[in-house]
């Protein structure tokens, strides 16, 4: 069978309204970024909190955080997404359930589920990085903080965390990149992010190699640019002479 190569396909009409296929990719990329950034925000805040909990001298807090990490790391992302999308709404109180199922548009409810899912999933990973970062600091730092009269929360906010975050930027970067890649699972609950738009283009236009090549290219460029941004941040916040560990 012959395959009709047609790289101009992206500028052809989709037959729906005045849209060309490229518009679909732009919309898809928009969703991908919207999912990833909000998910990352949740992951960073919750993950840092959990990471701190794992290192404080309190059994209960540490156990809670450890349990969280074990659960969210050992269940496949897709299963988690289905749980958030199909199961959790049924468990909500009546008014909330109605709001989720009836008031929200299909896209909005899918978006909400995937953002929560990715945020909580990635938080478990961020937690482990934060914990590693804190534990990599010399023990004397904690004591020095105490010796100056700081309370434990003050020691964390003024001494430990500012250092820990600097040294875990490389592993955090890779988690940040992962959330962009993982956001593609949203296509499986019907959210038209980048991968879903690619699939749709491939099916509508029959130019599947072109569609997937473009998608690959977009992910590749996205990945590279995010990496450069993170490197820039790493340099900006670098403190001369501060140890650097991790990196993997």
């Amino acid at each position: 069978m012959n395959y009709n190569w047609n790289w101009g396909v992206f500028f052809q009409s989709t037959g729906i309204g005045s849209e060309i296929y490229l518009d679909w990719f732009v919309t898809g990329l928009g969703w991908t970024i919207a999912i990833s950034l909000v998910g990352w925000l949740i992951a960073l805040v919750l993950g840092s909190l959990l990471g701190v909990m794992r290192t404080v001298p309190n059994r209960l807090l540490a156990t809670i955080a450890t349990t969280y990490v074990e659960i969210f790391r050992n269940v496949p992302l897709l299963v988690q997404l289905f749980l958030w999308y199909f199961l959790v709404p049924d468990l909500l109180p009546e008014p909330l359930e109605m709001w989720f199922k009836q008031d929200l548009s299909p896209a909005a409810s899918a978006y909400l589920s995937v953002v929560v899912c990715l945020g909580l999933f990635t938080a478990a990973r961020v937690c482990e990085q934060v914990r590693t970062g804190i534990q990599a600091l010399p023990k004397g730092q904690l004591n020095a903080g105490y010796a100056l009269g700081f309370t434990l929360p003050q020691v964390y906010t003024t001494v430990l965390l500012p250092q820990a975050f600097r040294i875990i930027i490389p592993p955090l970067t890779s988690e940040f990149l992962n959330i962009f890649k993982n956001s593609s699972v949203a296509s499986l609950i019907g959210l038209m992010e980048l991968l879903a738009q690619t699939k749709q283009t491939a099916e509508f236009s029959a130019n599947l190699f072109e569609a997937f090549t473009l998608a690959t290219l977009i992910y590749f460029v996205l990945n590279m640019s995010l990496m450069m941004i993170m490197r820039w941040i790493e340099k900006r916040v670098a403190v001369p002479g501060l140890i650097s560990v991790g990196g993997k």
Partner: protein, 221 residues
């Protein structure tokens, strides 16, 4: 919630589980083999080979696995037709397996590369000094040591792959998750079956990671 319907469905779920495990085992074997070849290319003195391997790795590491699975599902039949000239039906299983092998190889490559680089340079010299060829040096001296050192990392990556096999849902392959989803839908108990599938994944992954951590501690001593 009523989990009693799961027991009669177990044989069906087990068939799904077998598909999951087949994907896992074949994916790990193929991925490690291809990944090792890529690692040797990346470390070779031949600049072209090194460059090809490096590009391969950074390419596959920057795109989502789900994209690779979807693409290969569409593309593998096409490509085969180009090569062989005849229509060869390719099942979802084969295209998913190819996707896993090629995708995971990029990750295994980096693990193997680090493992080889962790072996002292002198070992290579000693093997050469005994008259071994490059192939013998790698096969008999360097790789056996490197694989021993990186076993925990390889296993960790395999656990990730175990979880990632659930993504074959996208092409409708009946793995554990999909078997549970479809049975749940048929029986009108989607939640129970979903929770059950999640539990199975959890128990296996959790136990396996515990075992790997244990192994890591033993190797570290």
């Amino acid at each position: 919630m009523d989990f009693s319907a799961i027991i009669p469905a177990l044989p069906g779920l087990w068939i799904g589980m077998i598909t999951t495990l087949e994907l896992l085992v074949l994916g790990v074997c193929g991925g490690v083999a291809l990944g090792t070849a890529l690692a040797l290319m990346r470390l070779s003195h031949n600049k072209t080979l090194a460059k090809i391997a490096a590009t391969y790795v950074s390419y596959f590491r920057s795109i989502p696995l789900l994209l690779v699975i979807t693409w290969f599902y569409f593309a593998v039949p096409f490509v085969l037709r180009w090569i062989t000239g005849v229509d060869t039906p390719v099942g979802a299983f084969s295209s998913c397996l190819v996707a896993f092998v090629m995708f995971e190889a990029a990750y295994f490559c980096e693990i193997v590369r680090a493992g080889i680089q962790a072996i002292p340079r002198g070992q290579m010299g000693a093997a050469y000094a005994l008259g071994m060829t490059y192939g013998q040096t790698m096969r008999l001296v360097i790789l056996p040591q490197a694989f021993r050192k990186m076993t925990p990392l390889l296993l960790q990556q395999s656990i990730i792959l175990f979880q990632d096999t659930s993504l074959v849902y996208t092409v409708g392959l009946m793995d554990l998750l999909n078997a549970a989803r479809s049975r749940g839908d048929i029986l009108g108990q989607p939640h129970e079956f979903l929770i059950f599938a999640g539990l199975v994944y959890f128990v296996i992954s959790f136990t396996a990671s515990r075992a790997v951590k244990h192994l890591q501690k033993r190797l570290a001593v």
